[in-house]
Amino acid sequence: MTTLDTASERVLSFEDVRIGFGQGDVLTGLTFSVAARETKVLIGESGTGKSLALKLAAGLLRPDSGSVQLLGRDVGQMSEQELLVFRGQIGFVFQEGALFDSLSVADNVAYRLREERVDDEEIEQRVRESLRFVEMEHAIDKLPSELSGGMRRRVSIARALVSRPPVVLYDSPTAGLDPVTSQTIITLILRLRDTQGVTSLLATHRLQDAFGLANYRFDGDTGRVVPAPHSTNGSRAAGAATNFVVLRGGKAYFEGSPQTIADSEDEYLQRFLL
């Protein structure tokens, strides 16, 4: 497993990435990077390529041109066999959860560990630990079809973190959920970030989620979400920073701290704030 020496080390970077599917490019030169322990929030309207960027980061798609570097490897140049092993270091939370509907919650969460031939006793322990983290231990024997949308996302988060990956990618984790459930999911993401120090890339079209991540932190001692102290540049002072990338026309239209976007007088960015 790749170790991260400094907090400023780039864990993920996109360099002039282009990809399209017949009817013109969706991403037309996307460039941004994510530092170690940083949470980067990709914001954009539907169809701007947020999910594509996440799939490119995990090597599920290959860029037509440009490079995607993750943990020091160019994922666009790796073979599928290399990627299958490499993806052990990435947790991916899909938009609708993407749970295997023929497997129980326990089997879904245990899936990756079984593939890695971890022994049964450890699997049981880690599955329970992950489910406890997302407060879903009571549903361990249920099938995904018996769960609500929010519960499915929580199980999906448990499945992504069971192998303790250093990088987690979230594809619109709150899309289609009611505000209360959305808040539960954001709290979980905060908790994962602040208690386990993962680097994350999160795609969303909901700015309130993005600001929630930027302005709050999870206090491990009290077990509560509290307002985060702010440094002078507007990002969180303690621990990892949360920064935004706004996608427009297949490119990074804006990259910076939450404060900068809030203070911006740019018409397009203002549209997101309203």
């Binding site: 995990a58 066999q81 993806r87 991916f92 899909f94 993407a98 593939e115």
Partner: protein, 255 residues
């Protein structure tokens, strides 16, 4: 020109997937429990429909051929005709088409649904090669089960033929079964039981290919399901022609 390029791309992708389903056999990981599950779904699940269809195919063959043999006073030849036609041609082909209708569609819709709900991507994201976990077990299971299903279809067809011939032609059990078995030679069985291996490979790979290339949500799944049945049925019939040609040649020169 674009359409032609796309077609060639499909052929290439299908050929690669088919090849991969075989090369996966030579490298771990193996998913034995998935193979057994699929054998149950494809083999045991298809048994009733295959047995029932085989029975009535055998029965109707007697009705159709009996009238001709009666004209020559050779009603006992009905058993020969039913046996040869079932074992060499009808058994493998009808079973192949039935299982294509039932399982190529099932495989395509199952994998297609997994694609549109991102379960296949999730599998890849968790380090599993979908061709190993989803395709190879289905191909192995279908290739192993189709010859057995064909044997069952042949047998139930002969039973159907025997029942109808005993009622309509008053043909005795000993006369029917002796002729039905004696007319068969080794090359007939070779032909009848090796064709299903190829048919099984065709219908499972076509089903998997159509399922994994689904685009466009539930409508895409429906389209893939239909295409899987149509394409695998046509491929089976075309392959049957060439296989018969090859096997008749082999029967004359090798067996």
């Amino acid at each position: 020109m674009e359409g032609l390029k796309q077609r060639i791309q499909h052929v290439q992708d299908y050929a690669l997937l088919s090849l991969q389903s075989i090369t996966n056999l030579f490298r771990p990981p193996y998913y034995l429990s998935d193979v057994l599950d699929q054998m149950d779904i494809i083999g045991v699940g298809s048994l009733p429909i295959v047995v029932l269809t085989g029975f009535f195919i055998g029965a109707v063959m007697v009705l159709q051929t009996a009238a001709q043999f009666v004209r020559f006073g050779q009603t006992a030849l009905t058993a020969d005709a039913v046996s040869l036609a079932l074992v060499r041609e009808l058994g493998p082909t009808i079973t192949g088409l039935l299982v294509a209708g039932r399982n190529a569609s099932g495989i395509a819709s199952e994998l297609g649904s997994m694609v549109v709900t991102e379960q296949v991507d999730a599998m890849r994201a968790m380090g599993t090669d979908p061709t190993r976990k989803l395709v190879t077990p289905r191909v192995i299971a279908t290739v192993l089960m189709l010859p057995l299903l064909t044997a069952m279809a042949d047998f139930s067809g002969l039973i159907g033929g025997f029942i109808v011939s005993s009622f309509t032609l008053r043909l005795g059990a000993i006369a029917f079964w002796t002729r039905a078995i004696k007319i068969l030679v080794f090359s007939d069985l070779m032909q009848g039981l090796s064709k299903p291996l190829i048919f099984g490979f065709i219908l499972s790979t076509v089903g998997c290919y159509q399922g994994l290339r689904v685009r466009g949500g539930t409508q895409g799944v429906g389209r893939a399901t239909t295409q899987a049945v149509v394409a695998s049925s046509v491929f089976i019939l075309v392959a049957n022609f060439f296989l018969t040609k090859v096997m008749l040649f082999l029967a004359g020169h090798v067996f």
